[in-house]
């Protein structure tokens, strides 16, 4: 039923809880996991030469986030873990990943790091749940 599970993470608390469920499912189903993170556009105030630095920094942070998550998954007994960092706004980037990797399940935290914490379901998880062709597990 679940051979490939995709975890979309932004390092937020719900994403961490989503990772825990993804680990459990991957172990029960002997599934491989792909950890993806969308590296968003830089803030508007970053311009010129500074922009390259900001982009590099963000990319490094993003890579570290998925690598760290993947390492913890392996430590907890998930055999096959891959990572990917994709550029773009979160929902679009995640949906592109879903198209490429065609997971049997997408696991995502309900709310990410966007400032709209008042909303129970974040705009990213909502857009992804709407747009993904596969089942989506939304974790609070």
């Amino acid at each position: 039923m679940f051979q490939t599970i995709m975890l979309a993470t932004d390092g937020s608390a719900p994403a961490e809880r989503a990772a825990a469920l993804a680990i459990s499912l991957a172990r029960r189903y002997a599934a491989r996991v792909i950890v993806v993170h969308a590296c968003g556009p830089p803030p508007d105030e970053a311009t010129g030469l500074r922009l390259d630095d900001v982009l590099d920094e963000r990319w490094e942070e993003a890579s570290a986030l998925v690598q760290d998550t993947a390492r913890r998954m392996r430590d907890l007994g998930v055999v096959e873990v891959a990572t990917d960092v994709v550029a773009g706004t979160a929902a679009d980037a995640i949906l592109r990943c879903v198209e490429v990797y065609r997971p049997d399940l997408l696991v995502i935290g309900a709310r990410g790091r966007s400032p709209w914490v008042g909303l129970t379901l974040g705009s990213v998880s909502m857009a992804v749940t709407q747009g993904a062709p596969c089942p989506v597990l939304v974790v609070k």
Partner: protein, 140 residues
Amino acid sequence: MFRNIILATDGSAAAERAVDYVASLARHYGARVLVLHAMASLPDILGEPNYSQALHAVLEESRGLVEDVAKRLREMGVAEVETDVIEGPASEVILAVVETRAPDLLVIGARGQSPWKGLVLGSVSLAVTQRASCPVLVVK
């Protein structure tokens, strides 16, 4: 990790696909399953004895629906299955039961039988995914 699973069903195609996921998850985790159906309220304007007759018919149909799903879950190897039919608006009924039962997972079809087919995610699954306190698996 998943001990108690609620499957909210309205008999739609997506809800039917959700049955297979619930069966698989319940087997892998040894979970108990509650098959829940929210039955639409009937208009008072029907008057008696029409109201009682209609209510009886709808109730029979609803019970048939959840019992059929429960039977199939048992046939697929799920040991503990119970059913419930509650009258009221679907998202409110589902959320109330989630609050009372505090399941580890709620499984729901993305689109139900509401007429808004144009929406990718149905209003019920959207409201439930937004507001449920537990993880929600949305099946397409």
